[in-house]
Subunit: 188 residues, 2 copies
DNA sequence: TCTTACATGTAAAAGGTTACATGATTAT
DNA sequence: ATAATCATGTAACCTTTTACATGTAAGA
């Protein structure tokens, strides 16, 4: 078996290739190096082997470009299989487990959502996220209440900061929903 | 060479051992499994080898407990070298690079700060963090401005969410500073 | 009795990190 | 001329993941 699921890093490559088709490994390195994107490694030792894996798995296809002017490079495109793997990932339900692991994966999924599944997918995604966050935050608060007695002030503040981060996420979700809904009414 | 620096995971083990001395591998597994702590792996395959590494590096010391009642277990304590490694890490200056990589490492450092370096270390740490955040956020805003034109709505919202997360961090820093300063005046 | 919690480990496979290696092109 | 940027890769080393392996004690 060629491994069940892809890592976040591999999905981010898939999504980036899809958005920048056709692009080479170096283009992707630049994204990781220059933008506040996910903060994955931009080292050649991580990107080139990962691209080779994705190509072996037939999720992307690479062709060495033949031009005289520019240096030789390998241009990648998403394959049909790659696109459907990306779609499956984006369609995954949002669960409590996603809350515990934090937002990075969900943020990444949202970043690719519109371009891959269309604008219509954004509102349901955010509504599901809103629901899970609204359920999760009170359990975090309870955890803080019960744990903080014994701990230090700074440990308590650190936990408080963690909760604030989730509340902030919820605020963002609501802002995003607002904007998307406003767009919709404007169009219709 | 036994490797220059420890991973976040290893520092978190060091800090937890220090706070719960003496404790065994299973105690640490429970922390990772049951609390919203950093979200490191609680698998035995990551924890026991890591503890063995830390012991080989003489940062912790483990002794097999000899009691009749409880099952055999290995209790760890921080060594003098481990404590000073922890202190060095906590004393590290806060830089722009820390902003780019995100807050998890800084949050972890703050969580251990008071118990290892004393309450006096909290305010300077937060002040440094406040300064770097206040410098970094405007550069993020500029990045959003320049990049968002070409991108999709959802990609723009995702970036906006990233910025909001940093602003939320800054709000937390100010709240924490407030509380700490209030304490100080109350005590003095 | 059966399951859950306690408790510690190892082995194989996969992946990431760091450093090395190479070489063309473009700007200073 | 020299440095920086473009461009792709490999090799050694280390860590993590997943799964296996073992066995006790307590509670339902």
């Amino acid at each position: 078996m060629p491994r069940t699921s892809l890592s976040l890093f591999e999905f981010s490559l898939l999504g980036l290739v899809r958005d920048r088709e056709p692009c080479c490994g170096y283009d992707l390195r630049k994204v990781f190096a220059d933008t506040p994107m996910g903060s994955f490694s931009d080292s050649p030792g991580s990107i080139y082997p990962a691209l080779a894996r994705l190509e072996r798995a037939k999720l992307i296809r690479g062709r060495v470009e033949e031009t005289s002017s520019v240096r030789r490079r390998k241009l990648f495109r998403l394959s049909a299989g790659g696109l459907s793997a990306l779609k499956r990932w984006l369609h995954l339900p949002i669960t409590q487990a996603d809350m515990v692991r934090g937002m990075p994966e969900l943020a990444l999924r949202f970043a690719f959502l519109e371009s891959v599944l269309g604008r219509g997918a954004c509102v349901p995604f955010l509504e599901a996220l809103e629901k899970e966050l609204a359920l999760y935050i009170p359990t975090l608060r309870r955890h803080l209440q019960s744990a903080q007695a014994a701990n230090s002030l700074s440990a308590g503040l650190a936990m408080e900061g963690g909760i604030m981060a989730y509340e902030n996420r919820l605020a963002w979700v609501r802002l995003a929903l607002d904007r998307l809904r406003r767009m919709r009414t404007r169009i219709s």
